[in-house]
Amino acid sequence: MAPTRASAALCALALAGTGLLAGTPRAGAAGGLAVYAAASLTDAFPAIDPSANYSFAGSNALAAQIELGAPADILASANTQIPATLYAKGLVEQPVDFTRNTLVIVVPASNPASIRTVYDLARPGVTIAVASPGVPVGDYARQVLGQMNLSSQVLANVVSEDADVRDVLTQVALGQVDAGFVYATDARTVGGQVKVITVPAWAEPKVTYAMAVVTASPNQRAAKAFVAEVLSRAGQAKLRRYGFLPLRKPAERIAVGPTRHRHK
């Protein structure tokens, strides 16, 4: 299953152009606002504001750094809980939701384990990568498995617990595992190198991203302007271009027609 060192190096070179190779965290250009953002925002955020100094990693790792006094101006998390926890501790200002995502399963393009549905992940011998507990994408994956009552069988097949979603994606794209849980937006970044299998929506947690200005930031005005930029029509359009979903409006689901007909 594991690729040779040479083939892995070649694949790594191919992936480098996609920004997939993981560090902790991955920093953007020097200077500007310090934005600590979930790894899944690696491609979208620089498109919204190329001037900021980004650090991309698992949201939990970024939050831990902020708790230790790291000089961040903004935290953008792949869930709402982490910013809410920091807000409760007075470390960030009131968080705001800014986008949504979808959890998917990715398999190598060749799909060597013939994975068709999430239920196939429970088969003995399947190898799976998942982000560590505490990392939002890892928690979401575990919630899905819990809702489908597949936790014990599927987690028994986990061979790699990773620091963030891009690490999981890299492992799958390199063929080092048979499957992994990532966001739909991440799967898009590696094109034909992986195949996407949907997670049943009935079992999927609501993947909502939230961001907040760090209370200790000396750049409050610029940080608030960044948040406004992300929430603006143009910012939201850029997020959608990278596959993120708009925040759901409360009454958008049900349409009732203007005319009234009675059934006999």
């Binding site: 068709r116 549905t117 239920y119 819990g146 809702q147 489908m148 009552n149 597949l150 014990s152 069988q153 949907t198 049943p200 929506a201 009935w202 079992a203 947690p205 609501k206 759901r248 689901r253 049900i254 349409a255 009732v256 027609g257 005319t259 009234r260 007909h261 009675r262 059934h263 006999k264």
Partner: protein
């Protein structure tokens, strides 16, 4: 038995059912509680996986029938049938959720799922009945599939009873949708993958 329930009665019945097990409202049904299998560890994971899926179906049915009634497109007789079916689905949910709780876990709740329907699903009584029939066909297939696979006797017997109830719903809504009240001698059983995929059509 009355054909309709007030909202307060329905909520009270649902709350009672959640605590005590299943309560059947369909005319001629058994109103005795169907107690969920108790004690953690008595129901294997594969059975619970089916229960989880069926809970999602019940939440879909409850959401759909609630929207159907709120649409005000149904006449009195059809509304009564929908209310009765809704009460049954609440009772099924209570039994299934109780099974999950007894296993030491937390069942899905309505707020956990966003349901989606065809754009014109609630425009007319006919469109409501058409979708009701579709959903009941999926539900019946899911229950029949589950009943044929689960290995916990108490669970299996209750799933068979619920299958019969879902078949009553299907037949009733088929008649209201001007379709044959019963089709094949052997209704289709859905595998867990098929049922999950069918459910995915109505969730987002």
């Amino acid at each position: 038995m009355r054909e309709s329930l007030t909202r307060a009665e329905l909520l009270a019945a649902g709350a009672t059912a959640f605590v005590a097990g299943s309560v059947h409202f369909w005319p001629g049904g058994d109103t005795r509680a169907a107690a969920p299998p108790s004690a953690p560890g008595t129901v294997p994971d594969d059975d619970l996986a089916y229960v989880r899926l069926l809970i999602a179906f019940e939440l879909l049915a409850i959401d759909f029938y609630g929207n159907a009634l709120r649409s005000r497109r149904l006449d009195q007789r059809t509304s009564a049938d929908v209310r009765a079916a809704l009460a049954n689905e609440h009772a099924h949910y209570a039994f299934l959720a109780g099974t999950i709780v007894a296993a030491g876990a937390t069942p899905l709740r309505a707020a956990d799922i966003d349901f989606t329907y065809p754009k014109d699903a609630f425009y007319t009584a006919a469109s409501v009945m058409q979708l009701a029939l579709e959903l009941e066909t999926v539900g019946l297939g899911a229950y029949l599939g589950a009943a044929g696979v689960v290995v916990t006797p108490a669970l299996q017997s209750t799933l068979v009873r619920i299958s019969a109830n879902e078949a009553q719903h299907q037949s009733t809504f088929a008649r209201l949708d001007r379709k044959p009240a019963f089709e094949g001698a052997f209704p289709q059983q859905l595998t867990i993958e098929e049922a999950s995929a069918a459910l995915g059509t109505y969730t987002s």
